[in-house]
């Protein structure tokens, strides 16, 4: 496990991000998508990364899942430096540790719900009978056992996303990543989805990292990390009730609030910016 960076938290660190940079070169200009990001995610935690479009939140998630390489910095997941892995190692790493929920569901159209859920198991060489059994169990967990034989185009968006969630869960990953999981869903379905995710994290002790632009959805998380222009401006830990806010170019917290917010409610302080952007 990665070392705790001074937090007096007894919980194990699953994701340890240190001073992470991602710089894209677009023509002659350099765009800093991530500009020195440091944070930890603890085991069994529901962590939301919130930011507007272009804030760098998706880039961050991609790097956590090993889909993109950082320009600089370290990412330790379950104690392993994934920024140093080549693509083959990353695949093995994902097989072992990671489940992924996509914004646009990304179910394979040729397969029914059950087969879609079983697909990641087939990449791990698990025999068909075993994986279909496990997939059926996962479908039941997300409440879709009656739709097991439906193709994706026979299901609603919410149902498809629940299949996607079952698919992420079926490999029993340490960490689940969700990239705007409700981005293609209406608000009512989104809410159902979030409740389901909350339930699964609680009941199955999963670590879930979710990226969203929607503050009301982030409110359900244990911890909310807010990113603006490639920097973390605020980390709100709702289990301990602490809020860390960061000045521009400094990683030390400048303000602590002791306000405790009830879970599941929309936040009122989302608009607070203490650190400014450089651009």
């Amino acid at each position: 496990m990665g070392a705790s960076d001074g937090q007096k938290d007894a919980r194990a660190v699953v994701i340890d991000v240190r001073d992470l940079y991602k710089i894209y070169e677009v023509g002659t200009t350099r765009v800093r998508a991530l500009n020195g990001v440091t944070f930890q995610v603890y085991e069994g935690e529901f962590c939301a990364i919130v930011g507007t479009s272009g804030s760098g939140k998706s880039t961050l998630l991609n790097m956590l899942a090993g889909l993109e390489k950082p320009t600089k910095g370290e990412i330790l997941i379950a104690g392993q430096h994934i920024e140093k892995m080549n693509e083959n190692k990353l695949v093995r790493f994902r097989q072992k540790n990671v489940g992924f929920i996509f914004q646009s569901f990304n179910l394979l159209g040729t397969m029914n719900a059950l087969e879609n859920v079983a697909l990641p198991l087939s990449f791990r060489g698990i025999p068909k009978a075993v994986r279909l059994k496990r997939a059926a169990k996962m479908l039941k967990l997300v409440g879709l056992e009656k739709h097991a034989l439906h193709k994706p185009n026979q299901m609603s968006g919410g149902q498809q996303q629940r299949v996607g969630m079952a698919r992420a869960l079926v490999v029993n990953p340490k960490i689940m990543f969700a990239d705007e999981p409700t981005g293609n869903l209406d608000s009512r379905t989104s809410k159902e989805m979030m409740t389901l995710m909350r339930r699964i994290v609680n009941e199955h002790k999963k670590t879930l990292v979710m990226v969203t632009h929607d503050d009301s959805l982030a409110a359900i998380a244990d911890r909310v990390i807010r990113i603006v222009d490639g920097r973390i401006v605020r980390i709100e830990d709702r289990t301990s009730g602490t809020v860390l806010e960061f000045h521009q170019k400094k990683k030390t917290p400048v303000k602590q609030e002791n306000t405790r917010h009830p879970a599941g409610e929309g936040r009122t302080d989302t608009g607070v910016f203490i650190g400014g952007s450089q651009k």
Partner: protein, 489 residues
């Protein structure tokens, strides 16, 4: 990932683009069929030539000839000791000595020449007969089996003409009278030449195809049952019989297999038992009289024992032919093997096959390009899907294998169907085209032959071509970024 799962996904992907898959497979079908049919034509050609060649003598045969041109080479003559010598060689299975002897023959109103081979009993039994039976060892009479084409070289004695059609001549029933000419003193001239021969003689000897009396002289004679009384030979102005020829009656015990249109290595000759022929020659050429076809010493005298015209040595395995051949040649004998020129011939036909196959391969090349195109399109179409699979933990190797398997399937299916098409085309070639084009050739000759190895090779080849064509698209698929999965359309 289990191989069955990979293959299953590949098949699913092919199936969901049925039309495109079908068209690509169609290209491979045409490519495979063009190669296979072209090769089958080459193979058919080679096989029919080789079949004919091996009919005329197997690949394991070595022919040893006596040197008739120079009687002084006594030690190179082929006698019983030579037969024993050859029999003792390693890898030699059997040794057949031959004596060849030719004599003019009158048969009813026709006249011609019998080229008689004295052969061992073992050899004699192998000659297939149309009618009659094989002659027994008979020292009193020269009993012959006669080649099915021999009568074609008989002319009408009165006119000197060859009949327009085959002479109506049944050697089994017509009395056969052979002429034996005794030269009291050995002459310089060749013993075969007969005194008083008319120009027709040379005509008839030339008219015998495939016959080389210098190389394979063998004389057989039939025992004389009775001395034929003088017939009106004087009236037969076109006869090669002379006054002082001794006339002996010959006996035909059988006709060699084959109709008037069939040709085999036996068709133009007569065969008899070796011992019978030896006895016959000794009886009718007593003392030092020169025997036609037999070598003489420096002074023109014949040798005490009859010498063989040629000896056929059969080797146990065609791969040993060269060794045995060189051994015999080093002993100083004139020898050659069918294998040598057959191998040359075979090489030439292999080149023809390669050229034909190369022409067929052009269509296969086009098919390969089409496979590559299809697979490349497929990677473009499935960029997102591949990304998703990578995110979900599909290894690069599995993705590559999936695409390679897809391309291999296209090749395999095209290969199998292409073989089917090839058999149809081959059948058409053999049954429709062959009779029209090759009317003059052997009946039943097939111009297109698809051996079993070609079936397997063609399917393996088309599958391999599919994989090769799919290699770069597959490689491309492994390089696609998993980020494609994240992007929203």
């Amino acid at each position: 990932m289990k191989i069955a799962d990979i293959l299953g996904m590949s098949l699913t992907n092919l199936w969901r683009r049925k039309m495109r898959t079908l068209l690509t497979v169609l290209g491979v079908i045409i490519g495979t069929a063009s190669i296979v049919v072209m090769l089958s034509l080459g193979i058919g050609l080679r096989q029919s030539v080789m079949d004919q060649a091996s009919q005329a003598g197997g690949l394991t045969e070595i022919m040893v000839y006596s040197d008739m041109d120079d009687g002084s080479q006594e030690e190179k003559l082929l006698g019983d000791d030579t037969v024993e010598l050859f029999s003792g060689l390693e890898h030699v299975e059997s040794v057949y000595p031959f004596i060849m002897y030719s004599l003019p023959v009158q048969a009813g109103k026709y006249e011609g020449t019998f080229e008689v081979y004295g052969v061992t009993r073992e050899y004699l039994k192998k000659i297939p007969l149309e009618t009659g039976k094989h002659p027994k060892t008979d020292k009193a009479t020269l009993s012959l089996i006669i080649g099915n084409q021999v009568r074609g070289d008989f002319w009408e004695v009165k006119s000197g003409d060859y009949p327009d059609e085959l002479p109506d001549l049944d050697f089994m029933t017509v009395p056969l009278i052979g002429g034996i000419e005794i030269e009291e003193i050995a002459q310089e001239e060749t013993s075969e030449e007969e005194e008083g021969e008319e120009y027709f003689d040379s005509d008839f000897s030339e008219s015998e195809p495939d016959f080389d009396s210098d190389d394979e002289p063998d004389a057989e004679e039939q025992p004389v049952t009775e001395e034929v009384t003088e017939e009106s030979w004087e009236e037969m102005s076109f006869s090669s019989f002379t006054e002082d020829m001794q006339r002996v009656r010959l006996k035909a015990t059988g006709i060699i297999e084959g109709t008037e249109d069939d040709y085999s290595e036996y068709s133009y000759y007569c065969y008899t038992d070796l011992d019978s022929l030896k006895a016959f020659l000794k009886r009718y050429y007593p003392g030092n009289v020169t025997i036609p076809g037999q070598p003489t010493d420096r002074s023109g005298k014949r040798f005490r024992d009859l010498k063989y015209t040629s000896i056929t040595v059969n080797v146990d395995n065609s791969s040993n032919v060269e060794d045995v051949l060189s051994t015999i040649q080093q002993m100083g004998y004139r020898a050659d093997a069918n294998k040598e020129w057959l191998e040359e011939l075979e090489k030439e036909y292999l080149i023809i096959e390669a050229v034909l196959g190369g022409i067929g391969a052009v269509a296969m090349l086009v098919a390969a390009i089409s496979i590559a195109n299809t697979m490349t399109m497929s990677t473009y179409e499935r960029t997102k899907e591949i990304g998703v699979m990578k995110v979900l933990g599909c290894t690069l190797g599995n993705i590559r294998t999936m695409f390679l398997a897809e391309a291999a399937f296209i090749g395999f299916l095209g290969g199998v169907a292409g073989i089917g098409l090839s058999f149809i085309l081959s059948q058409v070639a053999n049954e429709v085209i062959a009779p029209a084009v090759m009317a003059d050739f052997d009946l039943g000759a097939r111009i297109s032959v698809i051996p079993f190895w070609l079936v397997l090779a063609a399917i393996a080849f088309s599958t391999l071509i599919g994989m090769l064509a799919g290699f770069f698209p597959a490689q491309r698929a492994t390089r696609l970024s998993p980020l494609a999965a994240i992007r929203n359309d």
